[in-house]
């Protein structure tokens, strides 16, 4: 089973929830897809580390063979090619490696070469396997790194907890694609609500069963909670705004390894998620 943990903005507690969920499971794979700034490994401090490079193919253009027909430039929907002084010019950062330009070139002037854009780090920490996608600084899209992370994940057994990037863009879609259940982490603010709405729309678009974890709950009004109640969304858990929990995290420690009460809390949350996912699967089958 694969559980994806996501939120519309950074800092809501995705990593807190994902790390602790993975740690209470008996056999799990914590999978960090937040490839621009993966930080789950800072908590797990994995050992027996191995790296695997990730590359993507980008076109190289032989100007001696190019006839300047412009077919490649007009084809590229990502605007990665410009037509300047009669020849195509590549803007590497915009290339999505679709290979269309090379396929269409009537003069075979375009070939593809591999460009390293990041790596996947794999390691272990007690009962958890940690897979971390790392995008090289300055690269535009993390999607190829996430695809490689997913390939690594599919070779492992155990409960997968996928720590997604923030937001609702391509990198998030790539991260939740294979998920059996999505956990949306939300803050009790108007901004948090706005971002919760965005990811709710996203997971609904993907027809994923999902529930919400309300984080940093206080006695004050919680716009995210009101939204869940109005829309009849499943509230999986409420994590209180707790200074000690914040301190544990800021020290790079894992709450469920530090305090039995948190172990109990996240074990219960995991049980609820597994039950919800099963329940949702049943209702889907009946449709």
């Amino acid at each position: 089973m694969k559980i994806a943990v996501l939120s519309g903005k950074g800092g809501t507690g995705k990593t807190l929830v994902a790390v602790n969920l993975a740690d209470v499971a008996t056999n799990s794979v914590y999978t960090d897809c937040d490839v621009e700034e993966p930080n789950g490994h800072l908590f797990f401090k994995p050992t027996e580390i191995s790296y695997q490079p990730v590359s993507m193919s980008i076109p190289t253009i032989d100007n001696n063979l190019c006839s300047g027909c412009r077919i490649c430039v007009d084809f590229c929907r990502f605007n990665a090619l410009a037509f300047i002084a009669g020849k195509p010019v590549l803007f590497e950062d915009l290339c999505h490696s679709c290979g269309g330009c090379a396929m269409l070139c009537p003069k075979s002037a375009i070939t593809e070469k591999q460009n390293t854009i990041g790596k996947v780090m794999t390691g272990n920490s007690q009962n958890v396997t940690i897979i971390t996608g790392i995008l090289n600084t300055g690269r535009a899209s993390g999607v190829p790194v996430i695809r490689e992370v997913m390939r690594c994940l599919n070779n492992k057994t155990g409960l997968a907890v996928i720590d997604c990037p923030p937001g609702s863009a391509c990198v998030v879609m790539e991260s939740i694609k294979d998920a059996d259940y999505c956990v949306l982490v939300a803050e009790p603010t108007i901004f948090g609500l706005h971002n919760l709405q965005m990811v709710t729309e996203l997971v609904q678009l993907f027809h994923k069963p999902f529930g919400v974890v309300l984080n940093k709950c206080t006695a004050e009004a919680n716009p995210s909670e009101s939204y869940c109640k109005n829309k009849k969304l499943t509230i999986l858990a409420r994590i209180p705004f707790d200074k000690e929990l914040g301190e544990i995290s800021s020290n790079g420690e894992i709450a469920v390894r530090c305090k039995p009460a948190w172990h109990e809390f996240f074990l219960k949350l995991l049980d609820i998620i597994i039950k919800e996912a099963g329940y949702e699967a049943d209702t889907h089958n009946q449709r």
Binding site: F78, A80, A82, F83, A85
Partner: protein, 120 residues
């Protein structure tokens, strides 16, 4: 000589954005003839600067008068040998007049682009 200016929905004012401007004004300073063309990059998911720059260079202009320009577009213009000038007025007429009097300075401030981060 032909020059280009990004313009907004009023079609009389300079648009603060280059890549996402709705239209481009193509002005021939010799004949005084003005043409307005659509910017196909307005609805582009990514690479708007490059597509907009492509649209402009395909018009065989020699200069672009703009309040700002992103890095990718600036690279296209540099490779195509098109000079960028900094606009100082919202009015198209004032901008063209200032250009003809040689009062516009070269555009210095090339920004790194927004690239899906909405102004980050």
């Amino acid at each position: 000589m032909k020059i280009a200016i990004p313009i907004d929905e009023s079609k009389t004012n300079v648009c603060p954005s280059f890549g996402r401007a709705l239209y481009f004004l193509i002005a021939d300073t010799d004949t005084g003839e003005n043409t307005i063309i659509d910017n196909p990059a307005t609805s582009s998911a990514g690479g708007a600067g490059i597509k907009a720059a492509q649209t402009v260079i395909d018009q065989n202009v020699k200069a672009l008068l703009t309040p700002r320009c992103g890095q990718n577009a600036a690279e296209v213009f540099a490779a195509a040998g098109i000079t960028l000038y900094q606009t100082v007025s919202e009015s198209i007429d004032d901008t063209i007049a200032a250009f003809q009097k040689g009062k516009l300075a070269a555009l210095q401030n090339i920004h790194p682009g927004f690239h899906g981060h909405g102004g980050k």
